[in-house]
């Protein structure tokens, strides 16, 4: 909890600093993996379960003043999944689920970002999992705190669109089709451009 206190304590200071250097001049492109998280929620038999991916690699470059030049690419190590239960952690690596032997990673590649007003933005791009790609749009907010840029967003995918859960698992009455994905990505501005 201490880093949080420290962080919020620095917010006031940081906004002053940003005001001094001119807000928006910074391009946030150094993701801090330790401060970022990728979690998801799914339902089985009506029971909401939470999971996360421990390893994912995000490359972003985002300048709130020049949104149309923003880029984002997120690679997820699917074997780093924590579904919330040890038994399921083993099962989801198998053929019916992610088949990580053949498809170790998932990837999101943004093709464009637009501003929706305020702190709200939307990225569109391709999400590829298990050899299947779909165009998705990902709403997110971008805020600055303590000199860091924070991207927060939640979006849903349908697992069957990506063949996640085949065979008996295709039954969405047991494990729901909809998976909610939530990300929290923290990036610093590259020193050179600051």
């Amino acid at each position: 909890m201490k880093p949080h206190t420290l962080l919020s304590g620095l917010v006031g200071l940081a906004s002053l600093t940003l005001a001094d250097i001119g807000c928006g001049a910074a391009e946030f492109n150094q993701v801090l993996p330790g401060k970022s998280s990728l979690t998801f929620t799914y339902k089985q038999m009506g029971v909401a379960m939470n999971g996360s991916f421990r390893k994912f690699d995000s490359r972003v470059s985002f300048d709130p003043a020049k949104v149309n030049t923003a880029t984002a690419q997120i690679g997820i190590d699917l074997a780093s999944i924590d579904t919330g239960s040890a038994e399921a952690n083993d099962a989801v690596l198998g053929k019916d689920w992610f088949n990580t032997k053949a498809y170790p990673g998932a990837r999101f590649l943004a093709s464009g970002v637009r501003a929706l007003g305020g702190h709200r933005y939307e990225a569109v791009g391709k999400l590829s999992i298990k050899g299947r790609s779909r165009d998705i749009s990902v709403p997110f907010t971008f805020t600055q705190a303590a000199g860091l840029g924070v991207f927060d967003g939640t979006f849903s995918i349908k697992r069957l669109n990506y063949a996640i859960g085949e065979g008996a698992w295709a039954d969405v009455g047991t494990v729901a089709d909809e998976i909610q994905i939530k990300f929290h990505v923290v990036a610093s501005a590259s020193p050179a451009k600051k």
Partner: protein, 186 residues
Amino acid sequence: MNAMPSARYALPAIWLHWPVVSLTLCAFPLGVYMHELSLSPQKLQIYSYHKWLGITSLLLFLPRLQVRLWRAPPADLPAPAWRHRIARLTHVLLYVLLIAVPLSGWLMSSAKGFPVVYLGLLPLPDLVAKDHDPGELLTLVHKSLNLGLLALVALHVTAACKHHLLDHDATLRRMSPFGKQPEAAS
């Protein structure tokens, strides 16, 4: 004691006894069967059904206890005092386990990070936070309590059969939802 005890259990007591018997007879074998299954949709379904049965039985416990406390059971049939003591002890322990078994299952489910959603509709609160070691301990507690319940139910059923088939007395009939009022104890 309130009024003169009748020869038969109060009707609410009878109506609550048999549904709990049915629930237990379903939940127990499901529990034994399901925990060794490998992960499949069927396993998730059976786990849910098991939990719903357990929670239903837990819900029936309160009215059951109330009936037991407010409506006196029938007077003891003639038997040596030590047998009455064993019968009373068995009943008390059965009541304890009827609440402890589903409750320990609910606790175990919470500790293992699986919230209970009653009938797939009503999310019940987590009784404890998700934590590995308490989860394992509560699994052991749930299993042990169930073995205790199995032993007590075996004793309870054996005694009821013994009274009905060997002694030909009204012990079992006075809990029967069918049939006439058995004759009062002589």
